[in-house]
Subunit: 269 residues, 2 copies
DNA sequence: GCAAATTTGTTCGTATGTATT
DNA sequence: CAATACATACGAACAAATTTG
């Protein structure tokens, strides 16, 4: 009934970290030091304890440097949908306006930098094809951007449009620059497409290799994926946005009706 | 530049699993068999490979039984907020009506069973106190339920109300049974509280021990937590609901405006 | 820029404990 | 109870990343 040693070691370290005895962002003793400290446990046993803590996100190890307690940054608060009480003159759709439809606010006073969109034409990924209701082999235009806030990578966002849109006249979609006036108004002017609704689906999964690298998350981290499908008249989808976020560093907020104005403070736990 | 052996083994197994060569839910070869198969690598090395796959959710190991590929159940689709185009006679709030405000739909034809609420009075957790704008030492009524769908645990939901509500007349809050007509109408009848808006905050974190046990998620899994704060007149919070879900087995959906009716199909990736 | 020292990462072998069949 | 299979633990050696002198 006794707990295994590596768990006892992990538990002891966890208590020290959470009590503040080992402050955030500081270096733990080295593995050999910990080995001596814990009654001569083998280094591999100490390593197992550290792996357990790492899988719970309490510490991070860096080759050649040491093991560090994770710095708990305030999660980025992302407002998904802000539905206000409908006024008579409003379409009442809420959100979804302009290029920056997911408003990453709650970060006033923070330095934001976005990479210019990386544009490509490729076969649609299966899920995107399904969302756009196009054949799996159809071509789509991808416009991908990386967003960094205060030096911390925040999101990988890819917009998907049917390639038909380009041949139909929306030729700027395949240009690398920003779209004049934003994608929403561009698509309306060029193709007469007007958004009447959208759906957001949120899921959590382990990161792909490139996602882990850019978002600086470890092997056992997770990403939150937001798939936004926009619909035009006759409930036809015409535009899919996939946003990949570091799940443990973000908080998604949905407001509905009348709520207080200050929705910036993250919930503590 | 060569990858470590345990990663190569993991990569090979991953490919076999994802190609379908090892079907879902089947048992992998035993560790000793894998050791022989991979050029006599040590058993510990094979175990490292398996741990890597386990941390990505591809396999699960059970002591004494073996290592099994995870069965990919269709994620439960949970509709968070369904905002319809506002009609003239509608408050336009969307969602938030009745006891079952987070409608776990998309599971038609599935057997649902909820535990009767477990009721307790306790000091408010820090985050709940902050949401309810009450002092940290204030008492709250907790009503906790466990929801199981088709034999698979789906959610742990706890409702928090200020204890003041009980002394003010809402005495049934501390009764274990269901509230007559749902909590929303009960609070309105007894205390005149009317909801004018709500906020949902979604975050992802490692599970607490009891959450991991009930939701049947492994050490390196994650839970998604939905904190819903309901507001009454003057933007005063009066009710907080915390829902804990197995992050990898759910998909959250938000509809806004006019969208197709069939929002049941999960996105594949 | 290089070499040495430090620290974590990978791999092996072995032994024993615990859960399941 | 016996056999099987995963879990824990130890010790050792070398590799790779990083810092320091």
């Amino acid at each position: 009934m006794t707990e295994p040693m590596y768990r006892r070691i992990a538990e002891d370290l966890r208590a020290r970290i959470e009590s503040g005895a080992i402050p955030q962002g500081t270096k733990l003793p080295t593995e050999t030091e910990l080995r001596d400290r814990y009654d001569g446990a083998a280094r591999n046993t100490v390593r197992d304890a550290i792996k357990l803590l790492a899988s719970r996100g309490l510490v991070e190890t860096r080759p050649g440097r040491g093991t560090f307690t994770t710095r708990h940054v305030d999660p980025f608060v992302t407002i998904l949908t802000a539905v206000r009480p409908p006024a008579a003159d409003e379409p009442g759709l809420g959100g979804g306006e302009g290029e920056d439809a997911f408003a990453e606010i709650g970060q006033q006073g923070r330095t934001t930098s976005a990479s210019g969109p990386q544009v490509s034409v490729q076969q649609a990924p299966d899920d995107v094809a399904a969302r756009l209701q196009i054949p799996p082999e159809a071509q789509v235009v991808c416009r991908r951007r990386e967003l960094v806030v205060d030096g911390t990578p925040l999101s990988l966002r890819t917009e998907y449009y049917p390639f038909d849109f380009v041949t139909a006249g929306a030729t700027d979609l395949v240009q690398a620059g920003s779209l004049p006036g934003g994608a929403t108004s561009y698509l309306e002017q060029r193709l007469g497409l007007v958004q009447v609704g959208y759906q957001e689906r949120i899921l959590v999964r382990p990161p792909a290799k490139d996602e882990a690298k850019f978002l600086e998350i470890t092997d056992n981290g997770r990403v939150a994926v937001i798939v936004r499908t926009r619909y035009q008249a006759a409930r036809r989808p015409f535009w899919v946005t996939v946003t990949v976020l570091p799940a443990e560093r973000v908080e998604l907020v949905i407001n509905s009706g009348t709520v207080p104005d200050d929705h910036t403070a993250p919930v503590v736990a």
